[in-house]
Symmetry: C2
Subunit: 213 residues, 2 copies
Amino acid sequence: MNQTAPIKRKRGRPPKASSAEYRDTRQELITAGLAVLTEKGYSYTGIDEILRKAGVPKGSFYHYFDNKESFGRILIEAYGRYFAGKLDRWFRDSSLSPLQRLGAFVEDAKAGMEKFEFRRGCLIGNLGQEMTALPDAFRALLQDVFRDWERRTAEVLREAQQAGEIAAHTQCDQMAHFFWIGWEGAVLRAKLDQSPQPLDQFTEGFLSLLQGN
Amino acid sequence: MNQTAPIKRKRGRPPKASSAEYRDTRQELITAGLAVLTEKGYSYTGIDEILRKAGVPKGSFYHYFDNKESFGRILIEAYGRYFAGKLDRWFRDSSLSPLQRLGAFVEDAKAGMEKFEFRRGCLIGNLGQEMTALPDAFRALLQDVFRDWERRTAEVLREAQQAGEIAAHTQCDQMAHFFWIGWEGAVLRAKLDQSPQPLDQFTEGFLSLLQGN
DNA sequence: TATAAATTAGACCGATCGTCTATTTAATGA
DNA sequence: TCATTAAATAGACGATCGGTCTAATTTATA
């Protein structure tokens, strides 16, 4: 996010000593790309805007990436991994009960949206919505990410079951699927309303569905 | 949708007799605009694409509308009205119980998505997601539409309450809000998965939340 | 019959899109 | 040490965007 040093970007092959710079430009493009695409999606976003944000000249982009589509694929995978890590961080926190872990994730996600004044949403949700305008190859990637997140969520629900927090007959896989269907809607609405309220409202409903109010 | 007659579009002032044609071009632009924007959203869609789809030359667009933003506002309002009518049609069908009316709406919406092979979603949801890339004036319009749909939905829930289909302590306004938060997520996911399954999954969860299993 | 109103035709502008070639700099191998 | 190659940036390129504008055409109106 922050430019730790005002690195001079120079033409030509970089000196080997500072080989840190080699990866830097590429990583800065990915970071800037995620920032912009979580806000505005893929189709409408121009490469120029990402380059401007990263302070990288246009020629560099096509040195590090084949084209916009390839860049998009890399962003989807990077975001999927990033978010899976975030899920794990909370879902494996044994100092909390399984349902509390779910609640802790929600609070974290809320804070994440608030931090950017609800301008940034979920990359996967954004791209899912504009799927008809996207390269076909994106569909399977986006579906894979959801499958992964749902698998992790189902796992924490099964732990809640074992801990007796939710009924034994609860169908955890289906509930995890339901969560991610509705959660993306809540993120969308939070962006529209510029408020965490939809995230809370959906979470409350989901928890009360889990516990059979 | 279908061109009922192969109307010849002519230059010059139209004859007064067929004053139907006066509104025709304007209406065809709106229809084509809705078709494209429910698929791809606002920002990435060019006016040219809408004109091509409607078979209308560019000069006509700026005769009927001030600019793209104004056109967008008109589409939001048109879609809001269109969908409110669809809601009313089902929610006021007294041959069905209140909860059955909700289910009938869901079936109708599912059929609507299937008809276009899950390429078209909800205009309001689409625009909500890309809000950061939209004219500021759109925000309030989109929120108004959701408020309107939620009001109509809360009404049918209250009727379900009176009919004893759901508990008396159910907070109908909140439940209607929950429905529309999650429903938009389900539409998004149905588009990604090209399947009605997410719509069914969300509806099943919502109904079971309502009935407090 | 002259003028005004309504509509379409399509050229045009500056900006921006994604892509590609040329240039510059440093590492490498003989 | 010097030619060659690898790594990176610079910026041109044609296509297309939203938006505007003038001209052309047709009918209504007075």
